[in-house]
Symmetry: C2
Subunit: 370 residues, 2 copies
């Protein structure tokens, strides 16, 4: 990194956050503890992150003037969602360092490019094929078998932009329904469990990862995360090494999450990469209460050019998302010993909407250095 | 408490904080985690608490219109400093519930009234005499002996508004220099250690206290706090019972701190009350990292009418204040295992100014329920 690109913030400097959801809100809270200010840019007037910063911009991402003013007001820029239009990235990067850098998004915004990248590092993924027509879909399914999952290469999340392909399904209908020319077919992985590793790579290249998290999804949305994952030490070490390799190969600065499968194979258990999220991640929220430093603070330290903290877990941790109406249940968690309630300040409890989470820490045995 | 005075906030409601220092800042951060908004009222344009809230009022406490608008904008009001003029309290209380209620300040803003109140509960304090003239000072010193400490009854803090009286000192000169008609003479306490108890009393009257904290001062300013204090269990129990009695007797809602001395006496160790702070307190900052809930969150829960959390300590905790220039040292703490750095966002590192603190948690043995 050249001297011109090096970022070293001092307390009182300002971080610009693109996006105003709960991830941005929690990033701003972590920055505040370190005496760093944040400004938030988001088109949503009800952005959760607006509540916790003195200055915010509510404007569309297409509002070039607003983006330029935002960039001028801050010392470094980061983002809390990965589907930033490249035009936005270009405008911002012309004025201020963006961390992690936007070129990473070219890899992570496209499932095919992402899988090619991961496999190029010698890291296994689910089997996959590029698909750009009904014919290619037919060939891909013949290759990988059923069941399989057809996904748009870009813009899908939480189960949207994808379709299961089961025995007997009409491929032409599925292809028409997905309505894209850029798709990927992923072979089914009979996984034993889904895990993720939250890792942070600092400006100096140091990588610190947290203990492996085990994740239970419900209707494609994360419901419960547990740390440490109930996996053997060697499997955990492999997973963390994978995240470290990816962070280094991307030249990443900040916190990222690598979602993986643990699946049986002929040689014992295999760890396969599912997806990379170039941001703080729901499966890392447990670190706010269950570790000596949170994924949010590590991200702030990294983009500020500060050294990372050692990540020490306290005991066994379980995080439960409060989704939609479940949030009305939060009062009963207030008196549970070891429980910490986090509410995101969203007004409307729509179905499937992440309204908050509860983390329970138990055990608290001798801290486990990572 | 009548139904009209009962406060039960819901997520999305707003707490008004009078005062914009680091205590207000940390209260706002704690409220944010619970999905509660805060608005800050402070005359200081550089208020640390302004950074972390969307709406703030920068106006003098004498600005009645500004106070009224502030009160109308929020659902409940609290304060982060105890020297609120009674006129301000009157204006605010006419419009919104103030928690803890302002009548408590009549007791805590006056050292004489406070000591009379504590002793009326059967709780010991340092020996003391009211002093309103040079003659009364002479008689009081004859009673209590030297050394002794002469303090103004109101408005002193961190060593200001007080004078040591040592053998040979000229009492008339000291009296003239203190320049007041309302003073109190406190007899010297040969204490073994200074401790404090941070306790919270909820809207329903439940009191939860944290483990006793041991405090080291330097030039009248807190420098280091340790929890748990190195005292015998029965002494700790006595100290916590004292704090609970005071909170109940005051009909207090919120977090308070009771500073005490542990001093030798003919019957073993005695616990004497030194001062009551009707607010969150520097000696309770360790709870942010060393306990399952912080003093700030407990205060927010109490004033919101929510139940308190059980307060469980994680291991041994040491908090060190970063005062004045010491704050420039903060980078070396960033990589110490178990250390959490807190910076208050203040621009100027003036001598004696609290710029931040560092908390180190070690051990993390089985959590100790309180």
């Amino acid at each position: 990194m050249s001297a011109a690109e090096r970022v070293t913030l001092k307390p009182g400097d300002t971080i610009g956050i693109l996006g105003g959801g709960q991830l941005g809100r929690m990033l701003a809270l972590a920055a505040a503890r370190l005496g760093l200010k944040c400004q938030v840019f988001s088109p949503d007037p009800d952005s959760p992150a607006f509540d916790v910063v003195q200055y915010a911009t509510c404007a569309e991402y297409a509002d070039v003037e607003a983006l330029e003013r935002f960039a001028t007001d801050v010392d470094v820029i980061t983002y809390e969602f990965e589907n930033i239009p490249s035009s936005v990235a270009t405008i911002l990067e012309a004025r201020r360092p963006v961390r992690p850098n936007c070129r990473i998004l070219e890899t992570t915004q496209d499932r095919l490019i992402e899988k090619d990248f991961v496999t190029s590092l010698g890291i296994p993924t689910a089997p996959y094929r590029a698909v750009s027509s009904a014919t290619e879909l037919h060939d891909a399914v013949a290759d990988l078998g059923r069941p399989a999952v057809l996904k748009t290469r870009r813009f899908g999340y939480d189960g949207k932009g994808q379709a299961m392909i089961r025995p007997g399904d009409d491929l032409v209908a599925i292809w028409d329904n997905l309505d894209t020319r850029a798709a990927i077919l992923e072979g089914f992985v009979p996984f034993e469990r889904e895990i993720s590793v939250i890792a942070t790579r600092g400006a100096d290249g140091q990588v610190v990862s947290f203990d492996v998290t085990e994740n239970d999804h419900r209707n494609h949305i994360l419901k419960v995360s547990r740390a440490p994952a109930a996996i053997a030490d060697d499997v955990a070490a492999r997973a963390r090494a994978i995240a470290e390799t990816i962070a280094n190969a991307l030249g990443y600065v900040g916190t990222l999450a690598v979602e993986m499968f643990v699946a049986p194979s002929d040689d014992g258990l295999q760890v396969l990469v599912n997806e990379i999220a170039p941001r703080v991640h729901n499966s890392g929220h447990w670190t706010l209460d269950g570790a000596s430093v949170s994924q949010f603070e590590q991200h702030i330290r990294a983009i500020a050019g500060w050294p990372l903290a050692p990540a020490v877990r306290h005991g066994s941790v379980t995080m439960t998302n409060l989704i939609g109406d479940e949030v009305h249940d939060f009062p009963r968690w207030l008196t549970v010993p070891g429980a910490t309630v986090h509410l995101y300040g969203k007004r409307e409890a729509r179905p499937g909407r992440k309204m908050g989470h509860v983390t329970v820490v138990t055990g608290g045995s001798e801290p486990t250095p990572s």
